[in-house]
């Protein structure tokens, strides 16, 4: 029996959810929807009486003050889709997609004493008022009300009932793939049909291995190898060989790079050899020392491909995944903050420019933000830092970087799997979700991706993960397990394969708790169902461990044990379905040699006429999507939960100025803190990825120095998002960027502690392949001794002096200024390392002395934007003279104002500290460029002393806030 309960808002009660949907429809350009009403549907399955169903509705499902309900027997329910100008649309989840509220609603119904409930399925009914054609309605359904990958329009209500997935119970049948006799063409066909994303050489390696064994592989063995060897899991490009051809000053240079990662990024860390680096590059996250008792770990991941198809779910599970990295670092760390960086196409992109199969960038952005908000807020982890950048080339491939920081006791860093330890899976149940995620993200997207790879899309359940966290940290503190890994890409296959690599493992797949019956052994093995972790538990602790998880209502199940056989052995219905040598699985991969070419940019410097009045240009720069306020996004993130927030992402008198780095004090009542920042600018990379990498690192360090951090306690992370590395030009850029990373890290003596790459970010449409601009995110974390000595970027007080520290050069290549004229240019900003290190250190000294009132790093939009942001954030005016800015280059006001030279800061100093400050800074370049004023006027004099900018802070702020004031 199914009871259908429809819940409506009472007349006169404002429904803000419905209002939001209505606004999205209007944003779509459809003005004919006059009004919109939303009805929440709960379908209750089980042997409930009508009275019981009514009790559930009245006492639990409705808010008695704001809502009313109606109840129907589902099999008798009938409705007309259109009556006059009222159109009715009902949207429900696809079979197999987790209904996020089902579990908790069933629990609550049982709390009411109604144990007959078997299942709950929700749906939403929309009443659209207005004259609408079916075509328009379909557009609304597609663009606003649903995503067909996870939802559908309910057409026939009588079809409802019983989860379709449950009926799919297949008979067990072991599948063996005839590989040994396969021709080359057949090998490729097998790879393609199985969505293995393995190339011919790799397929041949596997064939040779099994020929030697004298048998064919099972589908499960083949799949396990594909998962393990995927770009996503193995990072073949970074670890392989590269034949690199570069041209400098017209001269060709050739070299073979053996393992790009080890010869650049990892190499830098070992050369720098900081004693406070605890664990680098081998665990889920990099670990550094925090204080006497604790370490801090930091990891940033990408979740680009899933977010392209289902923005909410993709970002949601991206955050969930990186949080599990923290939970699985060492013996588990407590997540203390999130950072999120996104790249989208401009939100105002015309619909006609969006390629088929792609979602509109505004929808992608809203979905991604919503997904991050949902997961981070519900887990209770503050999202403290981020960035959002825009470029048309991200239309098919948005970038979603999710980062997480954790804290862990010093004695919980080491983990080790022992022979005979039990394999325990904890957390969510396993379903068909996310099959092929790892291999899917190792290929390019096409307009068919949404059809082929729909299984790779999922929705997360943050409360499930929070429960896992609560139970896990308890078990950790009691020492109940010896090792832990998260289930991410590749699911159990990757987690257990990795944990048992040195020993061997035996798993009974029948024991894995399932969401529904009928999953085949292989689906269980590679499913990427969310919120699961794998533990290695000594037998003597197993009862205690299971008890801890039971107390928190978290499922924990023994599914096998680690062995000393050196084999990965899987069983299903007592039949062996996989028996792979761990050594072949992990070391049998062929080292690829790829070709890479890098040629200097052919871009030229644009010729722009100098202008006397730059007021309008500054307003435009502030309104550039990459510069403008991201308050609309930041407000939706809980950035203060855990009570640790010291420097928030929004600062200043009105709590709306753009902070440089965020600072938190992770231990309540203890003033030791951490600062989190990021550096990202793909536009420099369009000219030269080498200087992009260096500029990004400089930017991340600047931001931490700007809030008072010291570069001697900063660690950084790299995250590369690149196009197809099988194309030599794309790979050439990647090599340049990695080389820049090495150079900057060693020169600044700032180590990398972790990193990740996401390649194949291309979108094939017909014959054309659109690659994203090669994008490198540098995330930085600094340890702050006393958070009470940190500072913010808002001007504090009229009469204070304004300094510009660091040398400005006419480096406008890739700048926002050029972009306003649709130019890229060539003069990419470089870094003078010895000067930069000195600037960072001297400024830190001045902060420690208490001389600095405000400081802001100069980045996109140059001095002009930095000064404007400091002024309106402090509600104060400025009077500045550009002729006093330390400058080298063609003397033009626009160049000085908008150049994006690295290692520069605007600093506010109270007059009484002028001497002290200047004494500290004596051997670095700085200029006293003006004064803070209390009249709200923003005045800048050019090199000829004439006024080049004259406006008010209100106008500046309005231009800066307007673009994303949604």
């Amino acid at each position: 029996m199914i009871w259908r309960i429809e819940i409506k808002h009472k007349k006169g009660i404002f429904d803000s959810f419905a209002a939001g949907i209505h606004k999205d429809i209007i944003d779509l350009g459809i003005k004919s929807v006059r009004d919109l009403e939303v009805v929440q549907i709960y379908n209750l399955e089980g042997r409930l009486t009508k009275e019981q169903a009514s009790t559930v509705a009245a006492e639990l499902l409705i808010n008695p003050l704001t809502q009313t309900y109606a109840i129907y027997a589902q099999n008798k329910y009938q409705t007309k889709k259109t009556i006059a100008d009222i159109h009715l649309v009902e949207i429900a989840f696809n079979p197999g997609v987790m209904d996020p509220v089902e579990e908790s609603t069933i629990k609550a119904i049982k709390d009411l004493g109604i144990g007959e409930i078997a299942a709950v399925h929700t749906a939403k009914q929309y009443f659209l008022y207005g004259k609408l054609s079916r075509h328009t309605i379909e557009k609304i359904i597609e663009k606003v009300l649903s995503n067909k990958l996870i939802q559908h329009e309910v057409v026939d209500h009588t079809l409802l009932g019983g989860d379709q997935e449950k009926k799919n119970s297949a008979h067990f049948n072991l599948i063996v793939v005839d590989l040994n006799d396969a021709s080359q063409a057949r090998l490729l066909e097998i790879s393609q049909q199985g969505q293995l994303f393995l190339n011919l050489d790799e397929m041949k390696t596997i064939q040779a291995h099994f020929r030697k064994l004298g048998r064919n592989p099972t589908d499960c063995e083949l799949e396990t190898i594909a998962q393990t060897w995927s770009e996503h899991c193995y990072h073949k490009t970074f670890r392989g060989n590269i034949r690199f051809e570069s041209y400098e000053n017209g001269k060709k240079k050739e070299e073979v790079i053996n393992n790009l990662l080890k010869s650049t990024i990892v190499k830098a860390t070992y050369e720098i050899n900081k004693p406070w680096c605890v664990s680098v590059f081998h665990d889920n996250a990099g670990v550094i020392e925090f204080d006497e008792q604790d370490n801090i770990c930091f990891k940033v991941e990408t979740h680009n491909h899933p977010s392209a198809l289902e923005p909410f779910g993709g970002a949601n599970t991206g955050i969930g995944g990186v949080i599990r990295d923290t939970l699985g670092t060492g013996l588990g760390a407590k997540p203390i903050c999130c950072t999120d960086v996104f790249c989208f196409a401009p939100p105002d992109m015309p619909e006609k420019d969006v390629p088929p199969g792609s979602l509109h960038p505004k929808r992608v952005m809203k979905g991604v933000v919503s997904g991050v908000k949902d997961y981070g807020n519900k887990m209770g982890i503050p999202t403290v830092n981020g960035a959002i950048l825009f470029d048309r080339r991200f239309v098919g491939n948005p970038l979603v970087y999710c980062g997480n920081v954790g804290i862990m006791p010093k004695d919980k860093v080491e983990k080790k799997v022992y022979n005979k330890d039990l394999i325990v899976v904890v957390g969510g149940k396993t379903g068909r979700d996310g099959i092929h995620g790892a291999t899917f993200s190792s290929g390019e997207l096409t307009s068919e991706s949404e059809v082929v790879s729909s299984g790779a899309v999922q929705i997360g359940n943050p409360i499930q993960e929070k429960k896992v966290q609560d139970a896990l940290l308890k078990a950790r503190d009691r020492g109940l397990y010896s090792a832990i890994t998260d289930c991410g890409a590749g699911g159990l296959s990757s987690a257990i394969g990795e944990m048992g690599a040195e020993l061997g493992a035996r798993v009974d797949l029948d024991k894995v708790p399932l969401k529904y019956d009928g999953l085949m052994y292989m689906e269980i093995w590679i499913s990427e169902s969310q919120e699961r972790m794998v533990l290695s538990v000594p037998q003597k602790h197993i009862d205690q461990l299971l008890d801890v998880f039971a107390q928190e209502n978290v499922e924990a199940t023994v599914i096998g044990e680690f062995t000393s056989t050196g084999k990965l052995e899987l069983y299903f219905h007592n039949c062996q379905v996989c028996s792979l040598d761990m050594s072949f699985l992990h070391d049998g991969i062929l080292r690829l040699t790829k070709s890479a070419v890098w040629k200097p940019s052919k871009e030229k410097e644009p010729r722009l006429e100098p202008k006397q009045n730059l007021t309008k240009t500054l307003l435009q720069a502030l309104g550039h999507y990459n510069v403008c306020s991201k308050e609309w996004v930041i407000r939706q993130y809980d950035h203060e939960v855990q009570g640790t927030s010291v420097i928030k992402p929004l600062v200043g008198v009105h709590c709306d100025g753009p902070s440089d780095a965020s600072v938190i004090a992770p231990k309540f009542g203890n003033v030791k803190g951490i600062a989190i920042a990021n550096g990202i600018n793909f536009r420099y990379g369009l000219i030269d990825p080498y200087w992009m990498a260096i500029s990004n690192i400089d930017e991340a360090l600047r931001q931490i120095v700007a809030v008072g951090g010291s570069i001697e306690r900063i660690a950084i992370l790299d995250n590369f998002c690149w196009g197809n590395p099988d194309k030599p030009d794309r790979l050439g850029g990647l090599v340049r960027a990695a080389q820049g990373c090495y150079q900057a890290a060693v020169s600044f003596q700032v180590p990398f502690i972790s990193g990740k790459d996401s390649l194949y970010n291309e979108y094939t449409q017909g014959k054309e392949s659109i690659a994203i601009p090669g994008t490198l995110l540098i995330s930085a974390i600094g340890i702050v001794e006393d958070v009470r000595k940190t500072l913010t970027m808002d001007f504090k007080s009229a009469g204070n002096l304004i300094y510009c520290v660091g040398l400005t050069k006419d480096e406008l290549g890739g700048s926002i200024y050029y972009d306003l004229y649709n130019c890229l240019g060539k003069s990419v900003p470089v870094v003078d390392f010895p000067a930069a290190v000195k600037i960072f250190k001297k400024l830190h000294q001045a902060v420690q002395g208490g001389y600095i009132a405000a400081m802001h790093d100069v980045s996109e939009g140059g001095i002009g934007v930095a000064l404007a942001e400091m002024a309106f954030s402090g509600d104060l005016g400025v009077n500045v003279n550009l002729s006093r800015v330390p400058y080298q280059g063609k003397k033009r006001d626009d160049y000085i104002l908008f150049s994006e030279s690295n290692t520069r800061f605007i600093v506010e100093i109270p007059k009484e500290y002028q001497d002290s400050f200047e004494t500290i800074m004596q051997d670095v370049l700085f200029g006293l460029i003006g004064e803070v004023t209390d009249n709200a006027h923003f005045i800048i004099h050019g090199v000829t002393q004439d006024v080049c900018i004259k406006t008010t802070i209100t106008k500046l702020k309005d231009s800066w806030q307007k673009p994303l004031r949604w």
């Binding site: 803000s16 006492e59 003050l65 509220v101 009570g643 600062v651 008198v653 500072l791």
Partner: protein, 272 residues
Amino acid sequence: MSKIVKVIVLRTAGTNCDEETASAFRNFGASVEKVHIQQIIKKKSILKDYHILAIPGGFTYGDDIESGRILANELTQHLSSELKTFIKDGKLIIGICNGFQVLVKSGILPGNCAQKENNRDLFNEEVTLAFNDSGKFEDRWTYLKSNNKCVWTKNLPKIVYFPVAHAEGKFITRNKTILSRLKNSGQIVFQYCSQDGNVPAYPQNPNGSQDNIAGITDDTGRILGLMPHPERHFFSYHHPFWTRFKHLEKYGDGAKIFENGVNYVKKELLGS
């Protein structure tokens, strides 16, 4: 009898402000335990061991159905008589954010539960916290006018500054009579206001609450529920523009609330 103030911080799936709420009480010398509701339901008598029940912020059960609803249902179905005894015994309850949502949806606020004899009255929802008018979750700082009719708000400054972080915080009463009753009995202890204490507009009133109500107490003044987070302005460096202050005190506006709770128990319940 022991002279230690004992606080129970209620936890369940999705609770996430338990640690800082516990730390806030500990800071003033209380002994605090974070206890999962499942353990309390298993052994209901343990509630007797505590003087203060704190229901912290979070997203219990993911805000499924609506915020606070499922935990409220659990409390009223399993622990109603224990809760009534707790209140009758003159003990204290505080619900912050999601905890406030639980208190109103279980009918513990606006209260009079101790007097009510049958269970149904206890669960009568007279007020609620609906979706914000903005339609979204927002984290922002709000100025609040406070009154000291409640043991938790004694000696607070007239205007305090706390952050809110919620999607469902719009305070509504079932009818005008209830609203006037709350007003007349001084049960409205926090109201959103402008920086200088005047009538707020959005976003000063961040959610569209009736009469700008941000927090209420029961008729005994011992139960407090509020949407803003005092534990997030516990230290002065939590303030969003503390870097503009000439001198930095140790505590922010929120600390006093926890201190008041602990001191009340010491004086009135422990007699010290």
